[in-house]
């Protein structure tokens, strides 16, 4: 594929007229391409796959692998995508890795401004605030036609100490649920997670062990089916005791027996 967007062409001037740069201030295209609008990120480069999150009665369990893919090449295997913000909030990021790193810096600055500068001890930065803030950041960027190419899950606690779990994507769309996943996980993992928590309110019936088990199962299914996923991942548990990181967790109980029966995808002729 030719990765230069300027080579992808644009509608012909005869049909649509010249590009109107005045619209949405889309002016600053480089001089040599002035028939084009200004263009920003068109595609992610180094990517990462699903983040999973599930509420249980005392908190939240999250998981994400440590892989950074360059196309189909598994390029980096040491990327920690579940990041702690403030004292009791974890933000899980999937999508473009450089944009994730930018988010990391933005969140570091947020933490500095809210907690380090606050010598009155009045600014308790918690998950709902981090979530609202991130949704503003992502929506602002997409409104500038320059999105941060990520899907994000924010986990933590509400003011009343109930678990908080909400999603934001690169368009600024947000929603909350007791079971959440980004990327491929939203197709493959969410149905598994919802078996444990059919309705949002039901998370109160789920124990930490059950939550961890379904996350482990989902990570295994994702590793089976998602070619951009990896075998080692990080598992985070948030509860009243704090935030616990289990790093270098392996996908367990694998059985590739089913693989021989897979047909299609060009792997095997019928």
């Amino acid at each position: 594929m030719n990765h230069d967007p300027y080579q992808w062409g644009r509608p012909s001037d005869q049909t649509y007229g010249q590009y109107n740069h005045a619209i949405a201030n889309a002016k600053n295209a480089p001089a040599e391409h002035d028939s084009f609008p200004k263009m920003n990120t068109q595609n992610p480069i180094i990517t990462s796959t699903s983040v999973l999150g599930i509420k249980y009665k005392d908190g939240i369990v999250m998981a994400a692998d440590n892989l950074g893919s360059y196309g189909s090449l598994l390029r980096f295997n040491n990327i920690e995508r579940l990041i702690k913000v403030g004292k009791e909030t974890v933000v899980g990021v999937s999508g473009d890795i450089s944009d994730f790193q930018q988010l990391q810096r933005i969140l570091d600055e947020l933490e500095t401004e809210q907690e380090v500068y606050d010598n009155f001890g009045d600014n308790n930065l918690r998950a709902p605030h981090v979530h609202e803030f991130l949704s503003r950041v992502l929506y602002n960027r997409r409104s500038k036609m320059n999105p941060l190419w990520n899907s994000v899950i924010v986990a933590g606690f509400n003011d009343d100490r109930s678990p908080f779990l909400k999603y934001i994507d690169m368009l600024g769309v947000t929603y909350g649920a007791s079971t959440l996943a980004t990327g491929f996980g939203s197709y493959l993992a969410v149905p598994l997670l919802r078996k444990v928590i059919p309705e949002d309110k039901d998370y109160v019936n789920v124990s930490e062990e059950e939550a961890k088990k379904v996350i482990m199962d989902s990570m295994r299914v994702l590793f089976y089916r998602d070619a951009r996923s990896a075998e080692t991942f990080t598992l985070v548990t948030l509860n009243s005791e704090g935030v616990k990181y289990d790093k270098q967790v392996q996908v367990s109980n694998q059985s590739w027996e089913f693989a021989k029966d897979i047909t299609g995808y060009g792997s095997k002729q019928l």
């Binding site: 009155f120 009045d122 308790n124 709902p128 605030h129 979530h131 609202e132 003011d159």
Partner: protein
């Protein structure tokens, strides 16, 4: 050489390190009518004494709402207060928009403190000429702050600003324990009004026309009581006149302007450092 050469602007220190323009701005607060704030563990009450410039004119506003959980009382230049409260309202809305949470009282006051400081360090702008009492109820409970044009901000259990406010402070200091232990918002309002009452000059008494009351606190949005609505609170007072006038032994209050100046001096002394003054 009697003229003070060091008081023309806020970018000149006197040989003793004082900033006269800033100190004069603090005097502007005392030109305004009094406002008193008191804080219990659950509520903060602000009360203000309103003036009307002429019989047919309306009374000047003393209390301004910032958000559901925050409001201020002012003494001094009301237009300056409008500028500052407008800024505070913007901060409050921004906090809701960006973080989905109410602005903390401390962030609010510090933001205007930093704004005020800028005006004391550069030529061409004057310091603000208004003092504010900022009341707020947030995650960390009830808070009462005093803001000054010098850019100083301090948290108090009870505070008063404006004309003859020293008298109110005396009441507050004497009744600090009771104020802190106030079980109900009614009790707290009565303490606030008692303190305000002590700032009255001899021929004036608290009426529903010249008194404003506000309260904010636990499960209580910032609420302002004006006009007829104030009467219910005045009814709870044992008297609506100044206690020192009732005892008719007030050598201080009678002397008018001279006494005022004396009161001011006392006021300056007990808060030396934070009022941007450094006495020898």
């Amino acid at each position: 050489m009697f003229r003070n050469n060091y008081d023309n602007d806020s970018v000149t220190y006197s040989p003793t390190g004082r900033l006269f323009q800033v100190e004069y701005a603090l005097e502007a607060i005392k030109q305004g009518s009094a406002a008193v704030g008191v804080a219990s563990k659950t509520h903060v009450v602000l009360v203000g004494l309103k003036r009307n410039a002429e019989e047919l004119g309306s009374y000047q506003k003393k209390l301004i709402k910032i958000d559901n959980h925050m409001g201020v009382a002012l003494a001094g230049l009301a237009p300056d207060a409008r500028v500052l409260t407008n800024f505070l309202r913007k901060q409050a809305m921004n906090s809701k928009l960006v973080f989905n949470r109410p602005l903390s009282t401390s962030s609010a006051v510090l933001s205007i403190a930093d704004k005020a400081q800028e005006n004391t360090q550069s030529y061409g702008s004057r310091p603000y000429g208004v003092g504010l009492l900022v009341s707020g109820y947030d995650e960390t409970g009830s808070h009462l702050y005093e803001f000054q044009p010098s850019g100083s901000v301090l948290e108090y259990y009870g505070a008063s600003i404006g004309a003859r406010s020293q008298a109110a402070r005396t009441y507050l200091e004497k009744n600090l324990e009771k104020i802190r232990e106030s079980a109900s918002m009614e009790e707290l309002i009565v303490h606030g009004l008692n303190a305000l009452r002590d700032t009255l000059s001899q021929d004036v008494e608290l009426t529903f026309k010249n008194t404003s009351v506000s309260v904010v606190g636990k499960d209580t949005n910032f609420t302002v009581y004006e006009d007829e609505d104030v009467q219910q609170w005045l009814d709870k007072l044992d008297s609506v006149t100044n206690s020192s006038n009732r005892n008719d032994e007030d050598e201080e209050e009678d002397a008018g302007a001279a006494a005022e100046a004396e009161g001011n001096d006392a006021g300056n002394q007990d808060t030396t450092e934070d009022r941007m003054e450094t006495d020898e």
